[in-house]
């Protein structure tokens, strides 16, 4: 696919053991749920790290699409168009 027609997914350091060290993955547009499933096909185990057995996102995983928390969007049903940027981040402390 040509640049700009894919979804770009940033992978946090703790998950890079599953992606051969890659910090950025590319895949076809679709819902976030579909994108995670597609990436799990290429990098088995990724989905299990991000999601509970019932498919919901784990409590300590935050996912952002173009700078917005998916809990302010449509969660796992959020539609990711061409060029969308996804960040997966573990929760961090604050202050």
């Amino acid at each position: 696919m040509a640049a700009g027609t894919e979804v770009v997914v940033r992978v946090p350091a703790p998950l890079r053991s599953l992606t051969g060290g890659q910090g950025e993955l590319r895949t076809a547009p679709g819902t976030l749920r579909a994108v995670i499933a597609a990436l799990d096909g290429s990098y088995p185990g990724l989905k299990a790290r991000l999601c509970e057995e019932d498919g919901s996102l784990r409590a300590f995983v935050n996912v952002f699409v173009d700078n917005e928390d998916i809990r302010f969007l449509q969660g796992l049903d959020t539609d990711l168009g061409p060029g969308a940027r996804v960040s997966i981040l573990p929760a961090v402390a604050g202050g």
């Binding site: 703790p14 700078n67 302010f72 573990p90 402390a93 604050g94 202050g95």
Partner: protein
């Protein structure tokens, strides 16, 4: 590490070796320090702390640092626990204390967590200290880096209060103002941390960092004569301090250092950023993120990492969570200053205002011994109260001019 066994995932329980890592490799859950509690209970007596330094380091045995590790000491902790009878009367309570953490070296409780994180960072061999901050952590990281001759990078939201920016920049840190909310700054820093490999005190050093807040509980108990308060009111931003105060109290009860019993833990948030309080009142089990909009910027974390834990801690203890409007926050700052002579930042206004609501609603019993945690200094956020405090009377330098103003005052 005298009593530290290693790291353990709070979510799945998996153990791992001590390292500057905050996330479980299996489930991405938060890592916590694990101690040899049996050895502590056997070997440590509370009386020995009383002979230690007059700072948080008197509790070093309960912190995750090696016996021979160099610790960074700016004189943090062992802050005053003050009986607040005037405030108590105003709130309709009888036994109120203020834990005044506004008088730490950089004027907030953050010096406690940063002291532990910086010492751990030096132990792990880091040369660069960093953080995402709503202002208080910023100043503390910059100061501790200066003291330890480390480089530092501090990331803040660009709309931070001017005083907090100056209070950080003065230490010679590399200050980065990010056009976005604190939650966005935090997210950016997670990505920066992955690329640059620095010691982010609130990210990869978080397991060490957050343990520093336990010293608030130890000090309170020691200052009450090795007794726990019946009730504590703690401001909530990320939810860590409240949870760690509860943890410190639990540890001391388990060690037999304070009498058995229960301390009710109540949380205070600003109405413009109250994800934990809203979850408490709606009965939800999980905290949902909000978009923060409040004058209490040091508490403006819409997506609190330890929100669920804070919520559980409050409920399990029999406490409650409250929220205060911006007007109530300002009134809370004024009430504390005018009754007890303590000038708190907006977070302190939140704590006082929420204590007032809790007392009025009967959530705090008038006979309970209550400790309010004041975590930051009013000189950091003077703009919050500047519009409402009485202006000076300006007069000519003559006795007549002064007497004229007095005549008006008396009449």
């Amino acid at each position: 590490m005298a009593y530290v066994l290693g790291l353990r995932c709070r979510a799945c329980g998996k153990r791992s070796a001590l390292a500057p890592v905050h996330v479980c490799a299996d489930c991405l859950g938060p890592l916590e320090l694990e101690y040899d509690y049996e050895a502590i209970a056997r070997e440590v007596r509370p009386e020995q702390f009383e002979r230690g330094p007059v700072s948080m380091w008197r509790y070093r045995a309960l912190l995750p640092l090696a016996d021979d590790a160099p610790v960074v000491d700016l004189g943090t902790g062992f802050t005053p626990l003050l009986r607040a009878d005037n405030l108590a009367r105003a709130l309709g309570l009888r036994h109120v204390y203020i834990k005044n953490d506004a008088v730490n070296p950089t004027y907030s409780f953050k010096d406690r967590v940063v002291a532990v994180a910086t010492s751990a960072a030096v132990g792990f061999g880091y040369r660069v200290l960093a953080c995402a901050s709503t202002g208080n952590l910023a100043a503390s990281v910059a100061a501790h880096a200066a003291k330890m001759d480390l480089q530092s990078y501090v990331f803040i939201p660009a709309d931070l209060e001017p005083a907090k920016v100056v209070n950080t920049a003065v230490y010679g840190t590399r200050l980065v103002a990010v056009r976005g909310s604190y939650d966005q700054v935090n997210r950016l820093c997670s990505e920066v941390g992955d690329v640059f490999g620095w010691a982010f005190v609130n990210i990869n050093l978080r397991p060490f960092y957050s343990e520093g807040s336990k010293t608030l509980a130890y000090e309170t108990a020691e200052q009450l004569g090795w007794k726990a308060p019946d009730h504590v009111v703690v401001p909530i931003a990320g939810g860590s301090v409240l949870s760690k105060i509860a943890k410190g109290l639990r540890e001391m009860r388990d060690f037999g250092w304070i009498p058995p019993g229960r301390t009710r833990v109540s949380g205070a948030q600003a109405a413009g950023c109250a994800p934990v309080s809203r979850a408490f009142h709606s009965g939800a089990e999980r905290v949902s993120p909000v978009k923060a909009n409040t004058i209490a910027k040091s508490l403006a974390i819409g997506n609190p990492a330890d929100g669920d834990l804070a919520l559980r801690t409050i409920r399990n203890s029999g406490g409650a969570a409250e929220m205060a409007t911006d007007e109530e926050i300002v009134a809370g700052i004024q009430l504390l200053a005018s009754t007890e002579g303590i000038f708190a930042e907006t977070a302190g206004g939140v704590t006082v205002a929420c204590a007032r609501r809790l007392a009025a609603a009967g959530r705090i019993d008038p006979d309970e011994t209550v400790v309010l945690y004041i975590t930051g200094n009013g000189l950091k956020t003077p703009d919050a109260v500047a519009p409402v405090v009485a202006p000076a009377r300006e007069i000519e330098p003559t006795l007549e001019a002064f007497e004229a103003t007095m005549a008006g005052a008396v009449a």
